[in-house]
């Protein structure tokens, strides 16, 4: 893992800010966010609502341009959405008129790959997320967990360098969430993917991340970083895990306390 982290940054944010105009008032959703992500890293963004973590993710995705600072991918400014940055939405964002197979093949097909290549790629990623039996089902026939598997397979099948995940498991029940977390880690390990994962669960962040970026609101900004040194696979019930959870919880809490006083 450490060898991965010495490579050049895949993503770099320099003083990124985002200001919205809402009924004439200026709302600062994100201010002065600087962050470096290296290839193969699993980074979690955590913080209360309004801390700008989704805004940061949407800027990286290219859905919104930053109003201040620079967002660089492989040292080049991000100019709009592109397949190298795949997004997994909390509400899935699957195409309801396409089957599981067609949803996963959407990217390769949009990029004009050959039919055989598409079929091969799709088959591989359907297997990877364990949906072979549901390949020809439509999204409305799937459970939430299965939909999110399709959404993950969809960005993987499109050769994304970074997978951006916006509270992807937030709408799922606890059991499904645990299964998907494990599967995501397996995929991350086997593919060498880079993941930026937004969550508001401390436990989820510690379970998944190499590094947890703590954000806080008013205006949204990065308040600090925490490197999770626990060996993988991590055991949520272990005393070491609990110690980290307590420490990170205290940090988050102290940020909030400082803000309110």
């Amino acid at each position: 893992m450490s060898s991965r982290m010495e490579e050049i940054p895949i993503l770099e944010l320099r003083g990124v800010g985002k200001t919205y105009a809402l009924n004439g008032a200026r709302i600062e959703a994100l201010a002065g966010a600087s962050l470096v992500v290296r290839k193969g890293e699993f980074v979690c963004l955590i913080g209360a609502s309004g801390c700008g973590k989704s805004t940061l993710l949407r800027i990286v995705a290219g859905f919104e341009p930053p109003s201040a600072g620079e967002a660089l991918m492989w040292s080049k400014p991000i100019a709009g959405p592109a397949p190298d940055r795949g997004m997994v939405f909390q509400d899935y964002g699957l195409f309801p008129w396409l089957t599981v197979r067609q949803n996963i093949g959407f990217g390769p097909s949009a990029r004009g790959l050959h039919r055989d290549r598409i079929a091969e790629t799709v088959a591989r990623f359907i297997d990877m997320v364990g949906l072979a039996r549901f390949a020809d089902a439509f999204p409305h026939q799937l459970s939430g967990g299965m939909k999110q598997r399709v959404a993950i397979a969809r960005v993987l099948a499109n050769d994304a360098d970074i997978v951006l995940m916006d509270e992807p498991f937030g709408a799922l029940d606890a059991m499904t969430r645990e299964r998907l977390q494990d599967d995501l880690l397996d995929i991350w390990k086997s593919t060498g993917l880079t993941v930026i994962f937004v969550t508001h669960s401390i436990e989820e962040a510690i379970l998944l991340a190499d590094r947890v970026v703590v954000m806080e609101p008013g205006p949204g900004r990065i308040a600090g970083e925490y490197r999770v040194e626990l060996p993988r696979p991590r055991d949520v019930a272990s005393p070491e895990f609990n110690a980290v959870r307590r420490e990170l919880g205290a940090r988050l809490h102290s940020h909030h306390a400082r803000k309110t006083t």
Partner: protein, 274 residues
């Protein structure tokens, strides 16, 4: 008269249909009975009884009872009307669907056309009758135009609505997967607005049958609307009722056809599997 058209499907499907159809026949049967009793009680001497209408319908369809000018002419009138209804409807769909997609997708086209179309829309098709007779002459072309007009707005408005209400998330999903700009039109906009387009097509086809009577009221020798007008002029109420029944059934069967196509194309949508 209610000839049930057996749809595609296995024997079980047909049996289920007939069983379901059984309930649908209760209300018409009760109405027929009330009609029959009212006439038998002498409530109106101007309206024929159901049995008389049925007998006339047979003569209208195959002849052999009265053998007058209308005997065995049902198919002629039906086909004449169908040609105008489907022709006008098809033309309306051909113009309104692309135009609706354009208005829904392109802000300057919307700014240019939407206010004008919204202003034209409240004008009833019947109000267009005199103008259309001047523009297209007395006869079938005028009827065709009115059908076109009647079907046009529901298709246009529903298509526009469908395009405007595509979930923004789907555009984001498409663009991060590498499908951007005009490529999104066929891959996202069109499939996502298909349910609304079909709602528009169903409404439009219904209105086409609705308008055909108005369109065929003057200067058209053949057509179900002409039959109804002739029946009125000749005080032959049974003829009027026969025309009404044929239009009702033809409109119903047309709708079933659209629904069959719709259920096939929209089988991905849980709210459209009917």
């Amino acid at each position: 008269m209610a000839t049930e058209a057996a749809g595609p499907g296995g024997g079980a499907a047909i049996a289920r249909r007939l069983l379901g159809g059984w309930k649908a026949l209760i209300v018409p049967a009760l109405l027929l009975l009330a009609w029959h009793l009212a006439i038998a009680a002498g409530m109106s001497r101007l309206i024929p009884s159901p049995a008389e209408v049925a007998r006339y319908m047979v003569d209208f369809a195959v002849g052999g009872i009265w053998d007058d000018a209308f005997s065995a002419t049902l198919h002629i009138h039906l086909f004449a009307s169908m040609g105008r209804v489907y022709g006008g409807f098809a033309l309306a769909a051909l113009v309104a669907v692309p135009l609706g997609l354009l208005i829904g997708r392109n802000d300057s086209v919307r700014a240019l056309l939407d206010p004008f179309l919204q202003m034209m829309r409240p004008i009833p098709v019947t109000a267009w009758l005199p103008l259309s007779m001047i523009l297209f002459g007395l006869g079938p072309r005028s009827a065709f135009f009115l059908v076109f007009l009647g079907a046009f707005y529901p298709i246009l408005l529903n298509t526009t609505f469908g395009v405007r209400s595509v979930d923004r998330r789907l555009f984001e999903a498409a663009s991060m997967l590498g499908c951007t700009g005009s490529a999104q039109f066929f891959r996202v906009v069109l499939p996502a607005s298909l349910p609304s387009i079909f709602t528009g097509l169903r409404l439009g086809l219904g209105l086409a049958w609705f308008v055909i009577v108005v369109g065929e009221m003057t200067g058209v020798p053949q057509g179900l609307g002409a039959v109804i007008m002739d029946g009125r002029t000749l005080s032959r109420t049974e003829l009027v009722i026969c025309g009404m029944i044929v239009i009702g059934i033809a409109g119903f069967l047309s709708d079933r056809c659209v629904v069959a196509v719709m259920n096939r194309l929209l089988r991905w949508s849980p709210s459209h599997v009917a």
